[in-house]
Symmetry: C2
Subunit: 359 residues, 2 copies
């Protein structure tokens, strides 16, 4: 035994010169005069260990500053697993609420959450999923609106296949199931229904000249919300007027620009439904700048129920999407706590001051 002892240099690994080599399980076992197996059992909370040995191992661990190597553990399929949260950009309360929902479930169940942003770059997306696959994450949540073209559908199906290879799953959050690939589970909120509810309310109030401002086609959220507007109007027997549909990027400045153009176009408009609260705020600005009084001369309804919009003048009527709940449900599926079925959560229409009967 003593030969074996001297045989082993104090720091076996010949790494960096300054880096004090970390004590490992072997060192602890040796110091506690037990086998590695017994030492391992102590840290794995295996009950079949003599209390005496356990104490010696724990004491040695403390003395040597031993910290279990979670990576070695993970390799054996032990220890906490992780799920990945992949989003286009970490922006705003939407991201925060979704992330919080995911983390709350993961945290409660001893899982870790990896968060990454793709910046909309498919190459980065692909690289990221490759890395996550190598790290054997349990699931990848692909969060948010995505391109509506087939290229995304195929990409996503490829990711799902690749992930399945390592027993991981892909879950889409905040966008609907992919057309040709029903096995690709989606957790979404009913975006068209949300916008339809807004239109319904305006029609009920007596509006017929209802405009829509939102992003142009290409992304799921843009198309779904526009679609909600169109189907609601059709359902009410109101003809779609192309002059009433305007394209704007999802920010206040461009929303203001689009609203300004719309309001100065000469077309009669008594109400505007916007794709997002951001655009609605832009519409407020444009209307104000043109001397249009809100809400009596123009009703505006947003979407997202962002913070503070309820304190605008007039308080913005909007649609509240259950972002936190989407995160929760997606995480539950990711962890196998819920069946792998598509989920479509309802939105809540929030009637405030900005929608009234036409003047």
């Amino acid at each position: 035994m003593s030969t074996n002892d001297t045989d082993r240099k104090p720091a076996r690994g010949t790494r960096g010169p300054d880096r004090v080599t970390q004590a490992n399980l072997r060192d602890v076992a040796l110091h506690a005069k037990v086998s590695v197996a017994t030492a391992s059992r102590v840290f794995a909370d295996n009950p079949n260990v003599n209390p005496d040995s356990r104490d010696r191992v724990l004491a040695s661990a403390r003395e040597l500053g031993y910290v279990v190597n979670g990576l070695a553990r993970a390799m054996m399929g032990r220890g906490p697993q992780s799920i990945a949260f992949v989003v286009r950009a970490m922006i705003g309360p939407t991201f925060a609420a979704l992330a919080a929902g995911v983390e709350s479930v993961a945290g409660r169940n001893g899982h870790l959450v990896l968060m990454s942003a793709t910046e909309g770059d498919p190459e980065r997306e692909r690289d990221l999923i490759q890395v996550l696959r190598e790290l054997r994450v349990k699931a990848v949540l692909l969060v948010g609106s995505t391109e509506t073209d087939v290229s995304f559908d195929e990409r996503a199906a490829g990711y799902a296949r690749d992930l399945a290879q390592v027993n991981a799953s892909l879950i889409l959050c905040g966008r609907p199931p992919v057309a040709g690939h029903p096995q690709l589970v989606s957790v979404d909120y009913d975006q068209p229904a949300g916008v339809s509810a807004a239109v319904d309310e305006l029609v009920r109030l007596g509006h017929t000249r209802i405009a829509y401002i939102g992003e142009g086609p290409g992304m799921t959220t843009a198309e779904l919300r526009l679609h909600g507007y169109q189907t609601a109007l059709r359902r009410h027997g109101i003809a779609l007027d192309p002059a009433l549909i305007r394209v704007a990027a999802n920010n206040e400045a461009d929303g203001a620009r689009a609203a300004d153009e719309l309001l100065r176009s000469g077309t009669t408009v008594t109400a505007i439904v916007t794709m997002t609260d951001n655009i609605a705020v832009g519409a407020y600005r444009a209307a104000r700048a043109l001397g249009i009084s809100l809400p009596d001369q123009l009703s505006i309804i947003g979407f997202d129920d962002a913070p503070v919009v309820g304190d605008l003048t007039p308080a913005l009527t909007t649609v509240h999407p259950p972002f936190f709940e989407v995160g929760v449900r997606a995480a539950e599926i990711a962890l196998g706590l819920a069946p792998r079925d598509h989920v479509l959560l309802p939105t809540r229409f929030v009637l405030r001051e900005s929608a009234v009967a036409p003047g």
Copy 2:
């Protein structure tokens, strides 16, 4: 060789019955008729590999559906490392901006970001850091306001020590350095200076009865911002009136409650500085409800420059903290791209409509 072949059962590991065992490097090497060492070199992008062997290995890998095991790699100190982002709660644009800053740096440098919430529970915080330590993260960013008592300071120093043991570091974000532990690096923005700038502007406009509404003592952000108010008043030779300092939780409803009590207390108040925009929005509500006209009868200045507050009526004057930049700088230190020095970033005063000369 054929004996060796049959000797190995197709699925060596006797794991779950349905789970098709993953091909590993040995399988690939065998299939490509090279040694594991050579196969390893192929995936490690080691140039000393015959193109012919490389092709055979890659072909075998494809055929067997081989995915490098990143966990095994990580154990060897290869592959992507990760940094952890630990926050009290994943709420609002503050969290989002900080997270985005961290992720942008980490992502660009091939690192992964683990995000977790403590919910303010020190036990969960401790467990979390233990897990992160075991997983050999490169750094833990402890984000946001923390308790001001010594218990936190000691806890944090303990975390730093524990993390140092595994060559990881602790970085505090959005709170100042810990008093007795200067080695504990902090990345913060100048919170007192931000509030002071708000007070300075109000004094310049002619206000002397300037109230403050914010959280009570106990957390760093609450104390720093209040302190900025107090020092600015003192600097201007204005006596501190305890009746002008009100406590409110950081939300609109409680901000409204506190503002209501203040405005109905009989004390003269011509301006309110609030700890956060949330509270400022509550103050708007309370003032409105009491028939006080904004901004001519009452100036209000917030802090955080949350989205949409610039579109309130009147547009909220506030202080813009560089949250994204804080995240960036913290991540740079975490990755060793910047020196381990304390960072204190400036805030930007955003003058809008809610602060005017007293009526």
